[in-house]
């Protein structure tokens, strides 16, 4: 449905000296009906990528195709303007027009879009779209008199009313409070899945990304770092960056014995001892690497490899779970357990990690 190839964008740096690379050779493709997420910290290029897809930014080089039709191609010198790309978009600020009613906001894409509709057709489509987000009873309300959550729904109705070929969501949940955010997350996912509309979602929140997406592309400093299903990326990170960005973990530096390709089993020697695990990425023979220990993967077990003696230093009870801070010699390790498991501060046990849950990735290079 959407193909993005070799996207590159360079900005003049503020103050006029030098250039900043916003996008460097970004490529991906999205299947029909897929929920695809661009994830990364601020400044990673995810928004620039989305804006390029929308046509609000013009990249310096690369190609963007939608349903087989080029909407941008530096080689063929094609730039289709945003209004002719047939898209729907929900903005971070929602961008609900304050001088119009809810109805007029949602009717806008039908009135000013490519297809000319009669007033009856417009009314029918708008009310249908509003009913979809459960706001049909507020159609005639002036839009400044809406709550944040309602504005978000209007924005969604407006983005979907003209049946666009692609729905773009630019951090739509970041301005909502925590409870509403959880509810909207599910609602948006259910809605776009029911409509089977291809969706590109931009966020900096890995929980949102994992909870909503079919596939996630993690970005950093203008480049794609890893692309896969949420489970893949969480359980098989290919770098220290991915591992730490996708969730909390303890990173233990070490040296591998022998070389490995991604997915191979490999042994790493660390301060905590020898561990067998799965290589998240190719690692050279005897290369510096890092062992990733997810806090949920640590359990009590025998001291016979893939284990270390641990002392409980402190426990924080969080309700849904409890955080246990362990220490092995001088090395701090984080463990998360069920709130029903009794843990005594000061007690010692043998911590063990299943080799299938140990991830070994190349050592972190200094950040670019």
């Amino acid at each position: 449905m959407l193909t993005v190839e070799g996207l590159r964008k360079v900005y003049a740096e503020k103050g006029g000296k030098g250039l900043a690379v916003a996008l460097n050779n970004v490529s991906f493709s999205v299947k029909e009906g897929e929920f695809f997420t661009l994830l990364g910290p601020s400044g990673c290029g995810k928004t620039t990528t989305l804006q390029s897809v929308a046509g609000l930014e013009t990249p310096d080089a690369g190609r963007i195709a939608m349903g087989g039709e080029d909407v941008f191609s530096s080689e063929r010198r094609i730039v289709v303007p945003p209004n002719l790309r047939n898209l729907g978009m929900v903005f971070q600020s929602y961008a609900i027009w304050p001088h119009m009613t809810v109805f007029e906001n949602v009717a806008y894409p039908l009135r000013h879009g490519r297809r000319k509709l009669t007033e009856t057709e417009i009314r029918k489509a708008v009310m249908q779209s509003l009913a979809m987000v459960k706001l049909d009873h507020l159609a005639e309300r002036p839009s400044p008199m809406l709550s944040g959550g309602q504005q978000q729904r209007v924005a969604l109705a407006r983005a979907l009313v003209h049946a666009p070929r692609l729905l773009l969501l630019d951090e739509p949940l970041s301005n909502l409070d925590a409870k509403l955010r959880d509810a909207m997350r599910e609602e948006i996912r259910n809605l776009v899945k029911a409509l089977n509309i291809t969706t590109i979602f931009v966020t900096h929140d890995q929980v949102e990304a994992m909870g909503m997406s079919d596939r996630v592309m993690l970005m950093r400093a203008g480049e794609a770092v890893q692309l896969g299903t949420p489970e893949d990326i969480y359980k098989r990170p290919n770098s220290v960056f991915t591992a730490t960005f996708m969730g909390r973990s303890t990173v233990v530096d070490g040296v591998v014995q022998g070389s490995a390709r991604a997915g191979d089993e490999v042994v790493i020697g660390t301060e905590l001892g020898l561990f067998r695990g799965i290589a998240g990425n190719a690692i050279a023979d005897g290369g510096k690497a890092a062992l990733i220990l997810r806090p949920n993967a640590i359990v009590a077990g025998e001291l016979d490899g893939n284990s270390f003696p641990a002392t409980v230093e402190s426990v924080t009870f969080l309700g849904d779970s409890q955080e246990v801070r362990l220490r092995s010699g001088d090395f701090p390790v984080l463990q998360v357990t069920s709130p029903y498991q009794r843990v005594e501060v000061g007690s010692s046990f043998n911590a063990w990690i299943d080799p299938a849950h140990c991830i070994i990735v190349p050592a972190e290079e200094p950040a670019p």
Partner: protein, 568 residues
Amino acid sequence: MTAAVKGGIPLQRPVTVLVFAIVLALVVLPLLVLLRTSLLPAGQLPLESTDVTFANFVTLFTSKNSLTILSNTIIYAGSSTVLALVVATVLAYLTERTDMPGRFLLRTVMFTWMTIPALIVGFGWILLANPGSGVLNLWARQLFGIEGALFQIYTFPALVITTTIALVPTSFIMISGVLRNMDPQLELAGSVHGARRSTVLRSITMPLLLPGLLSSAIYMLMAVIQTFDLPLVIGMTAKVPVVSTRIYLLTAPDVGVPRYGAAGAFGVVLLALASILVWAYLRLTRVQERFRVVSGKAFRPKRVQLGAWKYPVAAAVWGYCLIMALPLLMMIWASLFPTYRPPSLETLSEASLDVYRTILENNAILRALWNTALMVVATATLTVLLCFFTGWLSVYRNDGVGRVIDALSFIPMTVPPIVMVLGILLIYLKTPLYGTVWIMVVAHVTIFLAFGTRTMATTLMQLNRELANAAMISGASWLTSLRTIVLPLIAPQAINLWLWSFAHAARDLTVPLMLMTLANTVVASTLLNLWQFPNLPGTAALAVMFSGVLLLLIVPAQIYISRRYDQD
């Protein structure tokens, strides 16, 4: 690398190119022609000659006459500014910081007064204080038996005083703003620590106000060195030529041919003078931003109790306002009699509106009224339209194009209107545009470009860009998104700018007079023509009608805006 891909949002490129070309033609062309003209030998036209000479500048800086003109200008501007600053500071302090009765009314009166064209006030002063039949002199003779004339309007001091009075309302508004932005807690802290009121005023209030006062002073200096109407009607008879009237006379002499080269040289000198002032102004206001004394809404100043001085002070202030209003009252009186009669109670019974009837039956005047209406409406509309695009481009185009348009549109701020108009006159002198209303529209739009672009840019900066982007994603073209989303959302500020341009174009005399032919007279130039004819009652009646219409249109809007400003 960016050049690899052409295109983007359709129409944005042609519109950008068009706006850029218009701004370039409006702003840069007149200045280039002006520079060229200042190097022109006598008796030649700028666009028809390739000769270059520095004779104009040599004459300017060696002739005793032109050195007098320069020193006149500096003394005139300096003394009126200082006087206006003193009066305005006292009035502003009384309204903002004391319990003087009628302080709110005083603010409204000051706002209102800015609407009355200075030309009309100048005529009023001449009726009041001319040495022969001036009303004040007649009364002085009758009441005190004074021989000769006590009040002499045609003198340098009189020119300074009338200019001062005309300048006070603007400076009052500026200084009130400075006072209001100051945190009164700083003064309070002074008195808590044992200082007396006069000590606080001297050692805390004044130093804090100084940067604000200085920048207001520079702004006013700029206004006076380019002012034209009072030096024309009072200064010429008083034999006090200044640069602005000199430029006018060189281009439209009573006898002989225009001396464009000499006028151009004076224009360049005036431009240099103004540029220095603008540079100082920008520096000062930047310094002010840095030392801005932030005040919260919660800290409304405690007003100084005037006590026993309350009523004497109020009487003095309202006495001043009466003096300020005298010229207009005089014009109203003069408009009521077909031949001029000195004011007295006996003659009042003979008052009639006959003059107004005659005026409104005069075809030349009717045409001037129509021209004025056309000129001000076209000016206001085109100013808003052009400034919307220049403002948009300077905010949303982050590349060189946006910055260049931003810089170009600021230039008219530095150029005294008379200099800009001189340039425009020289460009269009030999084209069909000369002698039409439209050349005046071009001149006004150019002069208003700087203020208009600033206004629109500030407004657009506060508008979330996603609002317009959402429209384009929804399928609207760029122009449709501007028309249906951006314009409606900034409508209040656009209407404000429209009214501002309307009022300023209507009351301006510089542009109509410099560009006047028989065909394109407007009210301002007709007033001057009637006065010089001389048709005193006709001048008075037209002036009163004109002021009335302006007041009715502008004052309600201004009161509304200042109310809204107060609520913020």
